[in-house]
């Protein structure tokens, strides 16, 4: 199947809400139909081709080009196919996603993969806050799936996540894993403060030392078996987790006692 290629031709002057930029929407549409789909420039209803040149049709493989930092909700709720973005994107990338893959060669803003259920999101640049998180009032954040951000991340990464994996390559800000209920967050370059605050269950793995909250207690040195399995899976995505006892070990902290929760924070301590 050929690709649908959209190139930004006019920079939006206010945020552009474009949840139609999704394989599910475009898969069965002709080029003309894609061009005429509605996007929201602020409150104005405009056509896709007011902002994009559109090549191709009837495909669930989308390629987007341009500085899309004002374009929000790309891949919202998508269940299949692929979106590749050459450029940066705005908020809510892949929010409520149910399947398929998104790859961004650039930065993404807040709420990447918020409340997603399945699928893979990979951002090669920096991410914003609330990655894989639950929106205000929701009891659960992401239910499953994988989010990988090569660069840095903002506040509240993985807030209330229930299952799934988030990997952050660069440093993350405060409240990583806030109220986490399950799943795994891997921090390759650590995080600022309050990591794992109010977590109930789930695992946060950091390869560099972390500032640990007073309501976490040190348990032991420990390299859980599941890490090896995990490490192999992540290897396929190009991420390496050390788990050879010869290289070092993980320090296990458990908490958050304020809940009281049974979450685990594992901090790598190289030999």
């Amino acid at each position: 199947m050929s690709k649908i290629i959209l190139r930004l031709k006019e920079q939006p002057t206010v945020p552009l809400e474009a949840e139609v930029l999704s394989p599910d929407t475009f898969a069965d549409l002709s080029n003309d139909e894609i061009r005429s789909k509605i996007v929201y420039h602020g409150k104005r209803q405009r056509r896709v081709d007011d902002f994009f040149d559109v090549e191709g049709e009837r495909s669930d493989d989308l390629e987007l080009h341009g500085n899309l930092h004002r374009v929000r909700w790309i891949g919202r709720g998508m269940s299949r196919g692929r979106i590749t973005v050459h450029g940066s994107v705005g908020m809510h990338l892949g929010a409520y996603m149910k399947g398929g893959e998104i790859e961004v060669h650039g930065n993404a803003s807040d709420w990447i993969g918020a409340e997603m259920r399945r699928g893979l999101i990979r951002v090669h640049g920096n991410g914003g806050g609330q990655i894989g998180a639950g929106y205000r009032g929701s009891l659960k954040g992401m239910r499953n799936g994988t989010i990988i951000v090569d660069g840095s991340a903002g506040l509240e990464v993985g807030m209330r996540m229930r299952r799934g994996t988030i990997v952050i390559g660069g440093p993350a800000k405060d409240f990583t894993g806030l109220q986490m209920k399950g799943g795994t967050i891997v921090l390759l370059s650590g995080a600022e403060i309050r990591t794992g605050a109010w977590m109930i269950r789930g695992t946060i793995i950091s390869l560099v030392p972390l500032q640990i909250l007073p309501t976490f207690s040190y348990a032991c040195q420990y390299t859980p078996d599941f890490l090896k399995v995990y490490s192999r899976q992540l290897q396929q995505l190009g991420i390496t987790l050390p788990c050879d006892p010869a290289d070092g070990a993980y320090e296990l902290y458990s908490g958050d006692a304020s809940v009281p929760g049974k979450g685990e924070v594992l901090v790598w301590n190289s030999a």
Binding site: Y135, R136, G137, S138, L139
Partner: protein, 544 residues
């Protein structure tokens, strides 16, 4: 002017049961004939008086607290889109004010009674009611935990208490009295509850919940309030509470009363594991005491947010669910709790509650005594009433639903044995004529000449829930507000209030007591008439 011709009319207030009649409307009221204006051909259609909700929570501090607590529900619910002339809104468990009006009118309800107003925030409630379009409204003030009233009752000062209740009703620009868990909310302020009708209340030496109930019922009767005391009994929601409920009813012997959401008060068994339905006993009491009315407080499976002045119950529910909890205590008068909740058919307790609500509606024989309600939003949202109508009218559908419940439930409920099916006439009584009469709103729920022209017209549909959920026309005060599923007009509704008589010395007596326990100026406490949009003062004839 408007004429509705050819429809089969169900008008229980006038004993009309499905006869083809012509209705004529002029100046918002039914008249015997009109000479011009639009004619709606309702041939083959079903014509009802507009629905009347005797017990709902749609405006004020508590529901507004619930709105703040449930943004996740606002996101997933139906949204009303802004038009050039019509405000936007969100439906769901705790709808916004504008959506509340659209949703009620959208299913043919044209009058609603907000059943729990603390006097202290009555000003707020009226502001919200002013933003609920289309429907007419009335309110009840919370009295059974007002410490000034309780102190007077403790000291046997009945006359003083009566005057003060009357003053409070007028200060709040309200329509009647609501008693919630008498004495229990006052006790909750110390983290306690009042479960025994004849034990004295925490903080009082001899006053019991039973005393409060009896005295307040007397006060409502003596003041001649159009609606009797509206009572939320003690021990709500607890297994075995049937004994409290029957005790309460016996205390009331000889007085008028409306028992709110009786579904929550008809349980047997000593604990949650043993809980069972005791609707037969309760229905029997209603069947032999025509002076008492009730609303079902039926439960529907699904998500909702529970919100009640019954703080102790709410804290229990929070502990049971471990989800979110809001609580708001209001000085001298009341408190309220807010807990989002999901009723599940797989949960035995929830399944029993679902059954109990329907059993009461089916076992209480006289539809003039038991009315449709979910105690919105507690048992389910008001916009799901058509689902209850379907359950009442279709025994086969009930059977289907019963199959989804846990097996264990069979010995605990009586619903499977009930074969009764409501007729359209009975539905019209339980959703409109009955509650209107119980509220003393004689111009409502009545298609007779001189009454308010609130009409709902349905196109016959074998799918009962769809038929009642999507009326063909809704007419409010003579104006077509809903037509073919679209909102055509959003006129302002009226607010019914009363001014019961009180002794002119009441304020002088009350002011120092007020200043002791309140934090606002006495003079700023009463809601001014001009704060109400379209007030309508109803008669109140005291029993001397």
């Amino acid at each position: 002017m408007l004429r509705i011709t050819g429809g089969k009319v169900y008008d229980p207030a006038n004993g009309i049961d499905g006869e083809v009649r012509e209705l004529c409307v002029s100046d918002g009221k039914f008249v015997s004939a009109v000479e011009s204006g639009r004619t709606i051909d309702a041939t083959g259609m079903i014509v009802f008086p507009g629905g009347v909700d005797v017990h709902t929570h749609v405006a004020g501090g508590a529901i507004n607290f619930a709105r703040a607590m449930t943004p996740e529900d606002h996101r997933r619910t139906q949204a009303f889109i802004r038009s050039q002339t019509r405000r936007s809104g969100l439906g769901g468990m705790a709808p916004t004010t504008f959506a509340t009006g659209y949703l009620y009118a959208g299913m043919g309800w044209t009058t609603v009674n907000e059943a729990a107003v603390p006097v202290l925030s009555a000003r707020h409630t009226h502001e919200e009611l002013g933003d609920i379009p289309i429907v007419d409204k009335s309110t009840l003030v919370l009295m059974a935990n007002n410490e000034i009233v309780l102190d007077l009752l403790e000291n046997g000062e009945y006359e003083r208490a009566k005057n003060i209740v009357a003053w409070y009703i007028w200060a709040a620009k309200s329509y009647g009295v609501k008693a919630v868990n008498p004495g229990g909310v006052a006790a909750w302020k110390w983290g306690k509850d009042a479960k025994q009708l004849t034990s004295s209340i925490e903080g009082y030496s001899k006053l019991t919940p039973g005393d409060i109930i009896l005295q307040l019922a007397r006060i409502c009767d003596d003041l001649g309030l159009p609606h009797p005391m509206h009572l939320h009994c003690n021990n709500l929601g607890a297994p075995g509470n049937i004994s409290t409920t029957l005790d309460t009813l016996q205390h009331l012997e000889g007085h008028r009363a409306h028992i709110a959401h009786s579904q929550y008060h008809a349980y047997g068994g000593d604990d949650w594991d043993e809980m069972r339905s005791e609707t037969a006993q309760l229905a029997e009491y209603f069947n032999t005491h025509p002076n008492i009315t009730t609303d079902a407080g039926a439960v529907l499976f699904g998500d909702t947010v529970t919100i009640t002045a019954d703080g102790p119950w709410q804290h229990l529910l929070y502990k049971l669910t471990g989800r979110k909890w809001g609580n708001l205590d209001i000085e001298n008068e009341t408190g309220c709790g807010i807990v989002p909740y999901t009723y599940r058919p797989s949960n035995l307790v929830n399944a029993i509650q679902w059954s109990v609500g329907l059993e009461l509606l089916l076992l209480i024989k006289n539809p003039w005594q038991v009315f449709l309600s979910t105690d919105h939003p507690n048992g389910g949202c008001f916009w799901r009433y058509p689902e209850i109508i379907q359950l009442l009218m279709c025994a086969d559908f009930r059977k289907e639903c019963l199959k989804k419940l846990p097996d264990k439930i069979k010995q605990r409920i009586t619903l499977p044995e009930i074969v009764r099916e409501y007729t359209l006439y009975e539905i019209a009584t339980a959703m409109s004529a009955g509650p209107a009469r119980a509220l003393g709103l004689h111009q409502k729920g009545n298609l007779g000449v001189g009454c308010d022209a609130d009409v709902v017209i349905y196109e016959h549909d074998d799918d009962v829930a769809r038929m009642f959920g999507h009326p063909r026309y809704v007419i409010k005060g003579g104006e077509v507000v809903i037509e073919e599923g679209e909102i055509r007009a959003t006129p302002d509704g009226r607010e019914f209030i009363i001014k019961p008589h009180y002794d002119p010395g009441t304020e002088q007596f009350l002011q120092p007591l007020f200043e002791d326990c309140y934090t606002m100026a006495f003079e700023n406490y009463p809601v001014e008439m001009e704060r109400l949009e379209n007030p309508d003062i109803r008669d109140c004839v005291p029993n001397l």
